[in-house]
Each structure stands twice: as C-alpha cells, then as structure tokens.
C-alpha cells in the first residue's frame, strides 16, 4: 500500500443516484487509495453496481461529487487508465481471444510496438495462452471471465474495477485471480473489487467498505471493521479472584470454562499461558480469532447470523496444554 496522504484513486462524497422513485444511492462517501485492493461489499440492491456504473460514466449521478484518478466522474480520457471487468462479462463471440485484446488496445489507443508480447503475456497470466487464436464464443464461462480479466489488465491500468471477478471460476481459478490481483497491487495499481464472496474479500482486500441502502455503513481496514482479536483460553481451576492477576494482559472475562481477553499481542500469548499455569490453572486450549467478515457483514446490514459468531479464516490454530 502507498502512503495514506497520496491522492485517492477514487473519492466520492455524498453520491446520489435516483431511478424514478427508487433511490439506488442515498449518500455514498468513500475513498480508495492507490496501491490497495479495496473490497466493496453489500447485499443485493445495496447500490454496488450503480456505484460502479457511476464511476465508469455509464450513468450520471443525481447528486454529490466524485473524482476518479483525479478527474471528475464521467471523464472520458481518464478511462484510458482504468481496466474494467463487468459482472455481466460478454464479449464479441466471433472474435478470437487475441483479437479481443487487440480491439481493446485500439480503443485505448495503446502504442502498437510490443503489442503481440503484451497479448501473449496477459493470456499467459490468465491461463489462456493456448487459446489465443480460439473464438471467444467457444469459451466456457470461466474462460470468458479469465479473458475478461486479461482485458481489464490491458495497458497496466492505474485502477482496475472488477465486478464479481470470480463468479464463474472454480477454486483453482479463484486462487489464480487472487494472485493476479496481488501482483497488480504490487506494481502500484488500485483494485476496486465488488464481490459477494466474503471469504475472498477477507483474503485479499487491504480495506473494505460495506454499503447498504445506498450508503456506506462501514469502511476501513479489515481489522478496524472486524474489531480486534479475542484470545480465548479453555481452562480448569481458575477462581474468579485470580482474574485480577491477569489484568496486565487486558480486561479478562470468564464464564466458568473460557477465559477471554481482547487484543492480547501474539507474542504475549505464551506469557499468558505461563501465568495461568503458575496460578495452578490447567490450560486445555488456546485460540485467537475475531468475528468472521460474514458475521460482521450480517450484523452491520441488520441480518444477524444464526448461532454464535463464527470465527474468521484468520483464526490461529488452537493449541493445547
């Protein structure tokens, strides 16, 4: 990620969009920084696709302001530096994969020198090197989505907007896409990822925004949105008066079986276990984790998950003592 004081790649303030009587966006405010993968989440009808359309100039806002790569929303020339993979990825079926890239290179007015190599590299990157001269119409959905990703990455754009980029991919394809997006970020591009796949967002996004009913209801790093980690220790023989001795690790909570302390640094967990053992407490299991993005998401959009809060994939493996 780049320094937070760098000019945002996307900055929208109070963005509104009305379709007749329906307000798709009410008051959308958010900023995407250069060199970050930004996850844009929300339930169906929250205004995600509308936001993407406004960012690309496919639709005009009813109110509010916005800038994309320093240009006002709807600016045509700035699109030269933007790559886009639509959710409804459809390309001319009669074109060959290489020809589709050439078409978009023409539309972007990319220099002609070195184009063949660029097409080859991109098709190789998305795993379609051996299909370069095959017609797009014969591609599976997953292959078309991979090709769409190659189209979006053409010309090393400063901003890549991806609308559900792995919806048609198998787990292997999804892993490939994650790697490709990390590589794009590492070369300095910002990635705006509109996705329903929360586990995926959790794995690759530096920051996220959750949108609901046309406004952003949470924005920030995963840590700030999900909250700090809890360290949970399953114990036997811990008497409530002994809790006071653990206050150096944080504020302890104890329900008779599990001792929970928020925000214990990873390097202090062995000290916590040692302190418990010294107190004569038997330690059965130690785990550290936080709410999963899915649980937090459902909580934020007012649809609580059934059962207890599931832990995120960032959970550390449990340890027994």
């Amino acid at each position: 990620m780049t320094a937070p004081d760098a000019a945002p790649v996307i900055e929208v303030v109070g963005l509104r969009k009305r379709y007749g009587r329906v307000e798709a966006l009410v008051d959308l405010t958010m900023a995407v920084q250069p060199g970050e993968i930004f996850g844009f989440l929300g339930p169906n009808g929250a205004g995600k696709t509308t936001t993407v359309k406004l960012l690309l100039g496919h639709a005009r806002p009813s109110g509010g302001t916005g800038r994309i790569l320093g240009a006002p929303l709807g600016d045509r020339e700035v699109r030269r530096r933007i790559g886009y993979l639509p959710e409804l990825f459809r390309y001319q079926p009669w074109l060959r994969a290489r020809e589709l890239l050439a078409l978009h290179a023409d539309l972007m007015r990319l220099p002609r020198v070195g184009r063949k190599r660029i097409y080859g590299d991109l098709l190789d990157l998305v795993g379609l090197a051996d299909r370069a001269d095959h017609a797009v119409g014969g591609f599976s959905k997953g292959m078309q989505q991979r090709l769409g990703l190659a189209v979006a990455l053409l010309g090393n754009p400063a901003l890549v907007i991806l609308d559900e980029p792995t919806s048609a991919l198998d787990p292997l394809g999804r892993r490939d896409v994650r790697e490709i997006l990390r590589t794009a970020r590492d070369r300095g591009a910002a990635v705006f990822l509109n996705s329903h796949l929360l586990s995926e967002v959790e794995q690759i996004c530096d920051r996220i925004a959750i949108v609901d009913h046309g406004r952003v209801i949470a924005e920030g790093t995963l840590d700030s949105v999900l909250g700090e980690r809890d360290t949970k220790v399953r114990v036997e023989g811990l008497a409530p008066p002994g809790l006071a001795q653990l206050s150096t690790f944080g504020v302890p909570r104890f329900d008779g079986h599990d001792l929970i302390i928020r925000a214990v640094p990873d390097e202090r967990i062995p000290d916590l276990v040692a302190a418990l053992v010294t107190m004569g407490v038997r330690v059965h299991e130690v785990s550290s984790g936080r709410e999963s993005l899915e649980h937090r998401f459902l909580e934020l959009v007012g649809r609580p998950a059934a059962g207890g809060p599931p832990k995120s994939s960032a959970d550390q493996p449990g340890a027994s003592a």
């Binding site: 496919h58 030269r80 886009y84 639509p86 001319q92 009669w94 978009h104 023409d106 539309l107």
Partner: protein, 285 residues
C-alpha cells in the same frame, strides 16, 4: 470510429452475413438472367418491334428494382436494429463503452461499417442485375450508376432510422418499425400519384400533401423515383410528356429527384444520426 467500423465489417464477414448476401445476390441475379433470357427469346420469336422489347425490359427492371429496394430496406433494418440494442442487451457495450471512446464514435462507427456492408451488397447486386439484363436483352438503361446509387441511398436511409430506434428499442421492435416506416413512405408516394388521376376528374382533389409529408418524414420514396427515372428509356420519358396522366403511375418518373430534395435527404441522415447520438449519450447503461 474507424475501429468500430472495422469491427462491424469484420463481424459481418466473420459471421458469414456478408457471404450469405453474396450468395443470395448471385442466386437472385441468376434467376433474373434466366427469366429475362426466356422472355427475350419468346418476344423475338414473335417478330415484334425492338422498341417494345426495350419498353418491356425497362418495366421489368423497374419491377425487379422495386422488389430489391424492399429487400434492401429490410436488410438495412435488420442490420441496424441490433447494432446498438443487442450490444446494450447482451452487455457487450459495458466493456466497450468503458474505454476512452465517445458514444458518438461508437454509433457513427457502427453506421459507417454497416453502410459499407449495405453498399457493397446493395450496389453490387443491383449493378450486377442491370448489367446482366443489359447483356441478355440488349437494353441498357440511360444510367447504371444513378439507379444503383438511389437504391443504395434508400438502404442507407433506412439504416440510419433503424440505428436511431436501436438506441432505445429492443432489436425486433426497431427492425419492424423501420420496415413498416419504409412501406408507409412508399404508400404515401403511391397515394400522391393515384391522387393525380383523381385530380384529372375533380381538381379539388389534391393528395400532393400526403407525398410531401411522407418524403419529408422518410425520404426513401423520393429516391425510389430516382431509381425509376434512371431505368426508363428516353422514349418512354418523351412519350409521357404528352400524357398528363403518366405521373399517376407509381412506377413512372418523369424527372429525377430535385437537388433540393437530395439536399434534404442528406440533411435527413445527418439529423437522424444526430438524434441517435443524442439518444445514446443520454441513455444510461
């Protein structure tokens, strides 16, 4: 614009649309040639005067051109109708218009590309038909280029209309409306002509307004009279000067379209394409 025009022509060639047109044109000209050959043989064996043959063949050519102008108008309508609508409906336009391309360039590129396809097909097929008939029958119309140009211009005008409708309507609706509009424009011209015959009986009958309105709204019928005029032998035009009711025949033209009308036809295309650009610009994807 050129990129989109190339893409459009490439699509017509790759999807075999162009080759189907070529095949149909060759087939139609082949059947016409066979029919004309049989007619000419039958006429000459009867020992009738050659001038009658010339008149007959010119009328046959006009009838063939009439049929073909409808075929070409339908072709134009169904090439133009999906040109924008199908891209919008399928989502192809989402990726295309996210590029630094003006919507006007996209639309004009589509128009240019389809016009090339239409001109190649319409021009090629009609010129081939006239030349083949001339070789078989010995009757060469006063001009080959003018009727071909007028017939192709009719197609290019219908194409502009269908492209305008394509920015707002689904493919089928845009195509159907364009074809119906072409038919109505022809009927307006025919009603005006029939009105001339009635006016000879009752001077208070004046249906000129119907034709004028029709030609103003869609200038195809005026161009159709240019096709007729180009295919008629001089002898017919001269003879008609003494027949005031000749103009009442929808398949006769005593004069070519006026320069003013041709200027209107060009302006009409510019206006309709301008409206199409405006409509597409205002449309949200």
């Amino acid at each position: 614009m050129i990129t989109i025009a190339r893409l459009t022509i490439g699509e017509a060639a790759r999807r075999r649309i162009l080759w189907v047109f070529v095949l149909l044109a060759v087939l139609a000209v082949g059947i016409t040639a066979w029919g004309v050959d049989r007619l000419v043989a039958a006429y000459r064996s009867s020992g009738s005067a050659e001038v009658g043959l010339q008149f007959g063949i010119s009328q046959l050519l006009i009838f063939i051109a009439f049929q073909f102008s409808f075929v070409l108008a339908m072709t134009a309508a169904f090439l133009g109708a999906p040109a924008i609508a199908a891209d919008l409906e399928s989502g192809v336009a989402l990726a295309l218009l996210a590029r630094p391309i003006r919507r006007s360039s996209y639309l004009l590129g589509r128009y240019l590309g389809l016009s090339v396809v239409l001109i190649a097909y319409g021009g090629g097929a009609s010129a081939l038909a006239i030349i083949v008939v001339a070789r078989i029958s010995g009757y060469t119309p006063p001009s080959v280029i003018l009727p071909v140009a007028y017939i192709v211009a009719e197609g290019v005008i219908v194409l502009a209309l269908s492209l305008l409708l394509s920015t707002r309507l689904p493919t089928i609706a845009a195509g159907a409306i364009s074809v119906v509009a072409f038919g109505l424009a022809w009927m307006a011209g025919a009603i005006e002509r029939v009105g001339i015959a009635f006016a000879a009986q009752d001077p208070s009958v004046n249906l000129e307004i119907v034709g004028n309105v029709g030609r103003a709204l869609l200038p195809t019928d005026g161009l159709w009279h240019g096709v007729i005029f180009g295919l008629e032998p001089d002898v017919v035009i001269q003879a008609a000067k003494t027949q005031p009711l000749a103009e009442a025949n929808p398949f006769f033209a005593g004069s070519p379209p006026s320069p003013l009308f041709l200027a209107w036809a060009v302006a009409w295309v510019v206006i309709v394409l301008g409206l199409a650009i405006l409509s597409l610009r205002r449309r949200e994807l």
